[in-house]
Amino acid sequence: MATFTASVEQDQAIQCLINMVVVARPGSGKTSVLSRKVRNLVSKLRPYQGIIAISFTNKASDELEHRCKDGAFDVKHSFFGTIDEFCLREIIFPFSRQLTRVAGEAKTAKIIELPEPLMRMLPPTPIQNATVVDTVAFLPFLSEALAQGYIPLEAVGMLAHYVINHSLACQKYLRARYRAVFIDEYQDSGYFQHQLFLKLKDLNLTAVAVGDGDQSIYAFAHKDPRYLLRLTAPGSGFAHFAISTNFRSHPSISDYALRLLDPSQPVAPTNDNRVFIKTIDGDQRAIGAWLATAVPHLMGHFQVASADRVAILCRHQRSARLIADHLRLAYHLVEESPFESVPSTEARIFSDLLRLRYDLQLTAEPHIERAGALKLSRIERRALRQAILRCRTCEEGDLVSSVMDAATRLLGQPPPSDAVMALVSVCGDATKLRWFRRPCHDAIHIMTLHKAKGLEFDLVFHADLYDHVIPTRVYPPGTFGQVVFENEKQCLNLHYVGVTRAIKACVLMTSTLRINRQGEVKSGATSQFIGRNGASAIPISW
């Protein structure tokens, strides 16, 4: 924190004290600006007050919280977390019971996990398309779910919006406790997050949105950059700031990325262009093989300290898998949880317990707290703690029974049988268990572009740059022979995000062949984004 010196545009954004929207380009020091703003504001608050800081992922939230708390700074009663956590912890759990009957121990569940009769109460409107006016149609379903002790995860935003609007007590609480709300990655706001943000502004909280429409990549999940655009439009009631200088990437990378978006973006002439392109003979397997030698070579050339500063970014998980399988270097593949098929509550508990086994820095305390176990007597608490810690100390052969025992205690009932089967299969599979280990320093990160959002690496290999992949295409009737892209802007954004993850160098990867979804080998035509707007990358010949 002490080393951060704000640039002029950063400083303007920091000094502004009114409702505002900050459009922050990749690497522009967004988190530094945010944390500085938070600290300035919090220092003027009374001890019982705080601010709300909402990030897109737990990881981003931890990072912001860490930066705000740097140097033992007292953030008072501030909230750091994701929008869902905020809705649940500050609105739904404490105040829904003032509006409707809520079963004693309400827990979150995906809609598909709900009991069949409850699901049948859903109105015909799909919940992801629902707006405030549709809330009325959902109310019978929502109140019955609450009465049965379920908070449907997909409806968290709608429910929170309903509670905040109808509970005067909730409004009083939020006004008393919070003086400002900060939402990061606003381009990936959902409808109800946007409504909630405006509501908090109406409650006289200083509202600050940070985002970048060019990094919007979650349209498929009903997140829409138009909410950010509404805030930046004149007359929105929000002061508009832009912080654009990329302090992260080498200037040539930054220029390259911006030229992709804007044909009139000036590109500074340089003889040190750090954007490269490599076309491999073969498919993704050959890419893996080439990277095995290229990664160490380029790490040496660009003085990258450790392999965990290197990332291979792909469009799809299967490409990532293919490259990983042929890499012959230590890697950490970010994958879907092995408990994907297990109900969310059980999946989270299993994952937490297994993570605890491999990461000695984790403790049992958060699990005890989350289980509401504060009400337990001292003896019961001790037994629970021992059961949780046994997951760390037990022999490999006892892992299933230890996890089952701890999970049963945390859930208050034994997990369902399909969850148990999944647990048995994961515990018997060393590669699946590896997912729960903390990645080590000498492992290259391999992940999808979506997962790379908000991260940065010294050296980035950007794969999957094929026609039909980035960008994807559609074939509407009567357009035979024409090239029609499917949501070109989102695809371009994804590519832009990928390139701008790089600090020292970015290598664009293509190949003559590619293995598609069905496992067939296809011709690997190059992505239309390569060379877009005359952006130029240096071919690697070796």
């Binding site: 009374r46 001890p47 019982y48 105040f95 007590a169 909730c170 609480y173 008393a176 406790r177 009400k375």
Partner: protein, 572 residues
């Protein structure tokens, strides 16, 4: 934010009590009725100075019914309203209703002496909470009836100094720093000087010689007496509270003054510490009157309730203190079938407009009535004198039975009745059988009637329908002759309302003809007239005139209200 009420179920000597509180409440009640227990119930939930171990229930916390059966659990519930303070709202997430209500409950179980604390926005949705986490911004400050100034100063001294330090401006702080430095040097020279006193220096010479003889190791080692490294901070820590009058030092005051000093200090500290914007403090003071002169007591009560920045709850046995309170702020605890409860649930809304008109009369005398077991209400000073004398002459000890005589100075009995009923203090009263002229009908054709004012007063107080005006002529003798008086008396006497046959003086003539005849040399009718003039003075003369022979017939009308009152007091 204020406490609306507290509900005590099976806690100590409360079986099931609901006690309302006002912004500033006075808690009264006889000794051992449970005033301190009630405050302790509040403290269990709200007093920071009670530790987790202190609030664990003990066997004697569970109520024992009259049949000797002990309860298996007890609960204490506090209802708050007007929760508007941001700090409290912020901390009590989800527990405050939209209307600003908040409930706290302490539940304890005798089987394992366990307890739990629950909070909620309404009584139907109380949730168990892990600890008294709310204490940071919502708590109670309590000052004990047994106050020890010296101990209090010892524990609070550092605190007071720090508060005063924080309150300095920069100029004062700089000046103090300079002065401290100078004092520090001065102290160092004092330390040196003491060390160099011959007898101090010599005192350890022999010891050092012995040590050296014992072992060569001690050659360079020197033991000496000195002042220790007393530095200026330690010196300040040793400050003690002293007093001076007109500049010369005196011993600290007696118990009374020490009590005042302590309360003043406590109040000053409370006001300084209390951040009204961000915390809620409820102040409890037990018996602030200890050792104080009546005027000082009166002053103290108003000083405490007006200057403390939050809700106050004061317990007291002092009418002087009570005189500072409106009757609707009084909580009177009483015993009922072996369990304590609050009369009319406490702080009953018993004040009508008449009370406000009577405000100037609220004095020490009516305030004393709050503490009585029964009260006899009379019209004026003559009755006061006569009934006090009658009680003496008939061996009825008013103080022993805790009975007060109270003059309403006129006929506004209704106001006192409301208050006494609200406090559930039994009462009796005696009023004259007044009959007077009254004009009714439209302007110009008005007619004169006789208004039976005394009888109607009695009937109204009993909640019975009034009687019509009578045609002229009609007087007290007529009311006795036509049976009206007898009918009204029979209806109201069971309620403790006693109607004079004519008035006090005529009633004396009826029951004490021998004593009144010849009083001041008058025949009976003249004696009545003489007594009626200059009422109180001549009544006093009459009582002296009667002396020990002031005996009235035991079943007579004069004695009835007093006997009624004594019986009620004996039952209480």
């Amino acid at each position: 934010m204020k406490i609306d009420y507290v509900e005590l179920k099976q806690y100590r000597n409360f079986a099931d009590a609901h006690i309302n509180f006002a912004k500033n409440s006075l808690v009264i009640g006889s000794n051992d009725v449970g005033k301190t227990n009630m405050l302790y119930a509040l403290r269990l939930l709200l007093d920071k100075s009670l530790s987790e171990a202190d609030i664990e229930p003990s066997a004697r916390d569970f109520h024992c019914a009259q049949d000797g059966k002990q309860a298996n659990s007890f609960s204490i519930r506090i209802a708050f309203s007007e929760v508007t303070q941001d700090a409290v709202l912020s901390q009590l997430k989800g527990f405050v209703s939209a209307t600003g209500h908040f409930f706290l409950e302490f539940r304890a179980y005798r089987a394992d002496h366990s307890y739990e604390i629950a909070a909620g926005h309404d009584l139907a949705s109380m949730q168990v909470i892990p600890s008294r986490f709310y204490l940071k911004y919502l708590h109670l400050k309590y000052i004990h009836s047994q106050r020890d100034l010296v101990r209090y100063i010892r524990s609070e001294k550092r605190h007071l100094l720090r508060l005063a330090q924080d309150a300095r401006d920069q100029v004062q702080a700089d000046a103090d720093a300079k002065q401290l430095h100078a004092l520090g040097e001065l102290l160092a020279s004092v330390n040196d000087g003491v060390k160099n006193l011959h007898y101090v220096a010599e005192a350890t010479k022999d010891l050092n010689n012995e040590l050296r003889a014992l072992s060569h190791h001690h050659a360079g080692y020197n033991v000496s007496l000195d002042t220790g490294a007393i530095d200026i901070q330690q010196f300040i820590e040793q400050l003690e509270l002293g007093a001076s009058t007109n500049g010369s030092r005196v011993m600290l005051g007696g118990d009374g003054r020490n009590n005042q000093i302590l309360l003043a200090l406590w109040k000053a500290k409370s006001v300084l510490e209390h951040d009204q914007e961000s915390e809620v403090v409820i102040y409890c003071v037990e018996e602030p009157e200890a050792h104080l002169h009546p005027h000082q007591q009166r002053k103290l009560a108003s000083y405490l309730i007006s200057a403390l920045p939050g809700q106050t709850i004061v317990t007291s046995h002092s009418p002087q203190i009570a005189a500072s309170y409106q009757p609707n702020s009084v909580v009177r605890l009483l015993r009922d079938n072996g369990a304590s409860r609050a009369a009319s649930h406490g702080c009953s809304n018993c004040i009508n407009r008449a009370w406000t008109g009577l405000g100037y009369r609220i004095s020490i005398l009516p305030a004393e009535a709050f503490f009585a077991s029964a009260v006899m209400l009379v019209e004026g000073p003559s009755e006061m004198l006569l009934y006090a004398a009658l009680a003496r002459a008939h061996g009825l000890d008013l103080d022993q039975y805790n009975v007060s005589l109270l003059s309403v100075d006129g006929v506004s009995f209704e106001v006192y009745k409301c208050v006494l009923d609200a406090l559930e203090i039994p009462w009796s009263m005696r009023t004259d059988n007044d009959i007077s002229n009254i004009l009714t009908g439209p302007q110009g054709s008005q007619m004169v009637w006789r208004h039976v004012a005394g009888m109607n007063r009695a009937l109204a107080l009993a909640g019975l329908p009034r009687q019509p005006h009578r045609p002229v002529p009609y007087d007290q003798a007529a009311s006795l002759a036509d049976g009206s008086w007898q009918a009204v008396s029979a209806a109201v006497e069971p309620l403790g309302i006693f109607l004079s046959q004519i008035d006090l003086e005529n009633d004396i003539a009826t029951e004490l003809p021998t004593l009144l005849t010849g009083f001041n040399g008058h025949a009976l009718p003249q004696a009545v007239a003489y007594l009626q003039g200059k009422k109180a003075i001549r009544m006093q003369e009459f009582i002296v005139h009667c002396g020990a022979s002031l005996r009235v017939p035991p079943g007579g009308h004069l004695l009835k209200p007093l006997i009624h009152c004594m019986n009620a007091a004996a039952k209480a």
